[in-house]
């Protein structure tokens, strides 16, 4: 192989080193502060033992207008049984996120991710993206995008995972 070709070929691999988190893999061990705060960090691994849905959302994400109320309803319904939704915000301006939340208020915990560390750890491929993690810390389902169908299947999946013991 000639040198320029080799350099071009190498650059293709260098620019895409991270693979997306898929169902069956362990959830990335990552921590982030609550939205609008700097400290303390909330670690996703600390939620082990519960069924966790990590949802990446933003005010500019149109389907999030559907997903956020749906996830809030699901959280309110199942939180007493050990289900928690963690909303990771991807807004550039904190004010945009707050404006969205006044229109679409949610009760589940929200994390800030201004340095993209959480999004990079999950290698988010679409907005919104949701990762359903079982009580043992394994990603069991990945939802990219959100429709009424997603809400229905998520409800079933959460129900099934809540019945599983650790």
């Amino acid at each position: 192989m000639r040198l320029p070709t080799a350099i071009l070929a190498a650059s293709v691999f260098i620019s895409h080193p991270v693979l997306a988190v898929e169902a069956g893999q362990a959830a990335p061990s990552i921590a982030a502060p609550r939205l609008g705060e700097a400290q303390p960090l909330v670690a996703i691994a600390d939620l082990r033992g519960q069924v966790v849905y990590v949802d990446f959302w933003a005010s500019w994400c149109v389907p999030c207008r559907i997903s956020m109320p749906a996830l809030d309803a699901l959280y309110r319904k199942h939180r007493d049984r050990g289900f928690v939704v963690v909303g990771v915000n991807k807004d550039v301006e904190a004010a945009d996120a707050q404006r969205f939340l006044t229109r679409v208020p949610v009760s589940f915990p929200l994390l800030g991710d201004s340095a993209d560390r959480v999004a990079r750890a999950f290698e988010v491929k679409a907005m919104p993206s949701g990762y359903l993690i079982d009580r043992g810390g394994t990603v069991r389902q990945v939802h990219r995008g959100f429709t009424a169908q997603t809400a229905a299947s998520l409800e079933e999946e959460v129900e099934r995972l809540l019945k599983e013991s650790r």
Binding site: A58, C61, P63, K90, V124, M127
Partner: protein, 69 residues
């Protein structure tokens, strides 16, 4: 040697083009990233152009650069 240097510099310049990850589209959704400064003015100009040129409907769907799905 010169060709190798040229190839290296081209590749180095290509590295300056950063892909925007799906979760970074908040940057594209900023008002100053819109293709048109004012959606209303753009629509009016488009309508005038369409009628003057007898090319109504020639423009595609309005908008762009909002960064949403």
């Amino acid at each position: 040697m010169t060709r190798a240097l040229a190839a290296i510099s081209i590749v180095a310049l290509l590295g300056a083009c950063a892909p925007v990850a799906p979760y970074q589209r908040g940057y594209l959704a900023r008002p100053d990233m819109a293709l048109e400064a004012s959606a209303g003015t753009a629509k009016a100009l488009e309508k005038t152009y369409g009628s003057k040129e007898a090319a109504s409907g020639s423009a595609t769907v309005g908008g762009g650069g909002c960064g949403c799905n």
